[in-house]
Symmetry: C2
Subunit: 345 residues, 2 copies
DNA sequence: TTGTATGCGTTATCAG
DNA sequence: CTGATAACGCATACAA
């Protein structure tokens, strides 16, 4: 254990340069009037020593932290391992770091004390918040969103909350149309918890397409299950399949892991994919292409979602929101049909 | 945009209670002598208002931050999406949060300034560091590890650096023995970049097993490729397979995504898995069981690795390291053979 | 153009 | 047992 290399302060520099601390500070912040000569001199010295102002002192003084808080409530219970939101977070992180911001996970406790999200953010002087996932009805979320702290979401929609997410109506239409194109007539859907905005919207889009195209439909061809993840999808699919009087020719699964669970359950029940039933997934997670059969799926543009959210948030933070944009924005990012082999030719 | 609810300070409490700020502070920290009566009174009031001391002021004063920095250098370039390290990070986060610590990603810049890892940690008063992945030769890593800041690693081994990782020798032995048990005689290995400690160790273990068991072996049955990820593994596997004079009966792939790439390449080349060639993966990532065929693999205990690393680090931070343990510790976490269907019966 | 004084919110030291 | 005071490192208003 070495002893800490004592960190340089603005006082040290002032002493070394025979100037006052405030002059140094001014130069560092391009503020106030300083002679070109001393500015140059100090800047050189600073560059040489690599001085950077102590972060916590700055934050304390400035009352903001160049930090974005992340709400990643584990409704899906796998947090960072989540195949979709994990990717969005990574892209978001990359983007804001380029702009000089850091990210930090918002938790509900500080040391041993319990705080609400909002209190935590205040306490830490967080500049803005990304709601990656979250429960619309969580009072903590509501408090946070309706506070003065700029928030943006990559998933949920709430009055007054800016957000950026996939065009899910488009996604379901793309999938549905593809199934029609390859000659499937009867189309079912395998859906996750309706408490999730994404699943609710996809369901709505699906039902209106059924109506629009007068596709043969039995109510047992649609189901929404509780819980998340492959295993859960697999277990439920087994029961669902057993409930059919007759199998549909194709199924839209509303996430890739659900599609995988479903397909493996279908196989167990003796169906061949795609010969007997075509299945389309949603997300295009990394594994979709490695699955057997490789999944035809709706690709969400995770990077675009993340960057759009980041841009909105950074504008909000900088007060650069253009005229008329103070109103809630819901950015819809286009999705893309990726045709692989889980749908028949 | 609401106006901020002004945050309560220790002065507000002092005023309300007609006491001095320092008394409040003492009570909050169970330090110094305070009469039981006032202590009770203040504690009640504090609980009622939910006051929590401003984090940045505390850090500034205390010179430490109850924060663990994470080095997640993107040698593998997918960061949070990494199927193995993403899981380890999640488990680590869960563990330290329970103990009242937060995690934060260490970056090489602060605002627009470039810092080394060590400088950044100093600047932020980080209490300790988890090196999740990292390049042994990165001068930044070396500087950090040899500094006074407690560090622990979940992957790399360096003199003086405590670490916690899988028992990879055991893993390869388990896999090798299983292949022997099911009757495979000739065994090859598909390895990733040797600059990674894990791959280097697995290679070593593999080679000594070959010698020990006098297994038939041709040098073309072992290869190590550059780069990471499924696609890379797939592409390289195609070439590798073409280089064989004769195929081995079984292959140890040193990660699950490599196993998947390899298997899919083998299929393209007309081999059946496991009838023609048995393949064992390594990691047991979430998808291993969903793959076709479901992967026989060596399961790394991600949670145990993370928690062991967290415990070591927290002890270091609290100075509770037991006698004799100041020396470098390399905790080896047992792995487990998971038999599925990519190895023949 | 530069320097001084003060406050950000805590905590630790030292009187009272 | 309690309270004033200083200090953490920086940034700003104001004085020189």
């Amino acid at each position: 254990m070495k002893s800490p290399k004592p960190r340089q302060t603005i006082y040290d520099i002032a002493r070394d340069m025979e100037l006052s601390p405030s002059t140094i500070s001014k130069i560092l912040h391009h503020t106030g009037k300083v002679s070109e000569a001393t500015r140059k001199r100090v800047l050189e010295y600073v560059k040489k020593t690599g001085f950077v102002a102590n972060s916590n002192a700055r934050i304390l003084k400035a009352k903001h932290s160049w930090t974005i808080g992340i709400v990643f409530s584990d409704i899906a219970s796998f947090g960072l391992e989540h195949p979709f939101f994990g990717s969005v977070l990574q892209a978001f992180k990359n983007y804001v770091e380029k702009k000089g911001f850091e990210i930090v996970f918002i938790v509900k406790k500080l040391g041993q004390a319990e705080l609400t999200y909002y209190e935590w953010c205040q306490n830490k002087s967080v500049d803005g918040v990304l709601l990656l996932t979250g429960d619309l009805n969580d009072p903590d979320i509501i408090e946070l969103v309706s506070s003065e702290i700029p928030c943006v979401s990559a998933d949920i929609i709430m009055p007054g909350l800016h957000s950026s997410m996939s065009d899910d109506k488009m996604g379901i239409e793309l999938g549905f149309q593809h199934l029609l194109n390859i000659g499937c007539r009867s189309i079912g859907a395998y859906c996750g918890p309706l408490s999730s905005r994404a699943y609710a919207e996809r369901t709505q889009a699906f039902r209106s397409l059924i109506e629009k195209h007068h596709t043969p439909f039995e109510e047992s061809w649609y189901t929404n299950i509780n819980g998340y993840g492959y295993q859960n999808a697999y277990d439920n699919a087994l029961k669902w399949i057993a409930s059919w009087k007759k199998a549909p020719e194709a199924i839209l699964a509303f996430s890739d892991d659900m599609a995988m669970g479903l397909i493996n359950a279908l196989k167990v029940k003796g169906y061949r994919i795609p010969q007997d039933i075509s299945v389309i997934g949603y997300d295009d997670i990394a594994f979709a292409g490695m699955f057997n059969p490789p999944l035809t799926t709706i690709r969400q543009n995770k990077v675009a979602i993340a960057e759009s959210a980041a841009e909105i948030l950074l504008n909000l933070i900088n007060g650069e929101t253009a005229e008329g944009e103070e109103e809630q924005q819901v950015h819809r990012i286009p999705v893309q049909l990726v045709i692989r082999e889980s749908t028949r030719k």
